[in-house]
Symmetry: C2
């Protein structure tokens, strides 16, 4: 069962600032797989394509990874682990102030969708994961959903937010953020930071936030 040293995830570097995004430091094979999956989808990509683009032999892929599925698993889990880690930092930084917790987490998620569009956009390929792999990924995503839900519920409890149903609302918000990967391009008119700010404002309305925080400006 256990063979060699397959690269699974753990490509993510240590994070100290949840707002800063260094270029993804992926194994060349994963970088190639990501590129092809984004362009042709999981099933539209051949392992030979990946090998060719990575400049390695096809057997090399199977030496480093269990199989084609292993490539998708590594990319998906890497991305989800990273955004989850960032979201927890963003949350913690607010030191319990609900409005700021909410704003930080939404900002962080949208920054992830823009700075990490390629990996974040792989979310739609999740259905091609084998059941065991999907379960692991779903568990990670559920943690993110529950973090946001908990914040929304706390906001309601404190009378700062007004929503009819917190679970529906937080799920809707997450879907709204995820959809950014469908249209964002790094050469578009808006920076990731601008988009994140706008989505924070939109999200605050969605939860019926009573107090509007002073607009944040991004200096240089």
């Amino acid at each position: 069962m256990n063979q060699g040293e397959h690269v699974t995830a753990k490509t993510t570097a240590r994070l100290d600032d949840w707002r800063s995004f260094a270029p993804l430091d992926l194994h060349p094979i994963l970088a190639a797989a990501l590129d092809r999956f984004r362009e042709h989808g999981y099933h539209g990509t051949t392992v030979r394509d990946v090998a060719g683009r990575a400049g390695v032999s096809l057997p090399m892929i199977y030496y480093r990874f269990e199989n084609k599925q292993g490539l998708l698993v590594a990319l998906l889990e890497d991305a989800m682990s990273e955004v989850l880690q960032r979201a927890r930092l963003a949350d913690a930084e607010a030191e319990g102030r609900v409005l700021e917790r909410f704003s930080n987490v939404v900002e962080c998620i949208v920054l992830h969708m823009t700075h990490r569009t390629a990996t974040a956009g792989l979310d739609s390929e999740l259905r091609y994961l084998e059941p065991a792999n999907r379960k692991k990924y779903a568990a990670l995503r559920k943690e993110l959903e529950e973090l946001l839900l908990e914040i929304v519920e706390e906001g309601v409890a404190q009378g700062l937010f007004e929503v009819d149903r917190a679970p529906d609302t937080s799920r809707a918000l997450l879907g709204m953020c995820q959809a950014v990967t469908g249209w964002y391009h790094s050469d578009g008119p808006l920076t990731p930071e601008e988009i994140a700010d706008r989505y924070v404002a939109i999200s605050l309305r969605t939860v019926g936030a009573r107090v509007r925080p002073a607009p944040r400006t991004h200096g240089h």
Copy 2:
């Protein structure tokens, strides 16, 4: 170049009530293709799979449709045409009352995402369309986006809605609705109508609608 009588779209029946959804009356080949595309994706589906499930020979597929791409094109354009047609009816029914126009259109879009989850969920396969086909589909979708945007802008103009940027907000709303196809199941706890109602409420907050008399605590 031109051969036979290819089924393109036009499977949609005439609509008189935008809230009622009859079962999709798809050509058996398209129904089979839809089933396989949903389960394995476009590239994960073989034309032989489709033939087998439809109970026809593989060449029969190519007799009725131009190629594999033609199956996806027909399904995608059919679905988008239908929701667009419904949205226009939903809009017209409000006879210019902005709050109702907005509520109707959002309700209608969410009803589409739930009653038509299979076809609506094919949206993520749009990137596999050849450029010419994608352009046609994108044009249809843009009409829906612009309908919603126009309503949001009118609401702002009339002082009924409060948003920072109408284009961002309406795009975010559409993404929020589209995401419903990712989790909705007909055997879940909520009916399409219940989900639509909840999304209307959420969306009204998102546009800052003065849906009920604002609590007059102090001046604003």
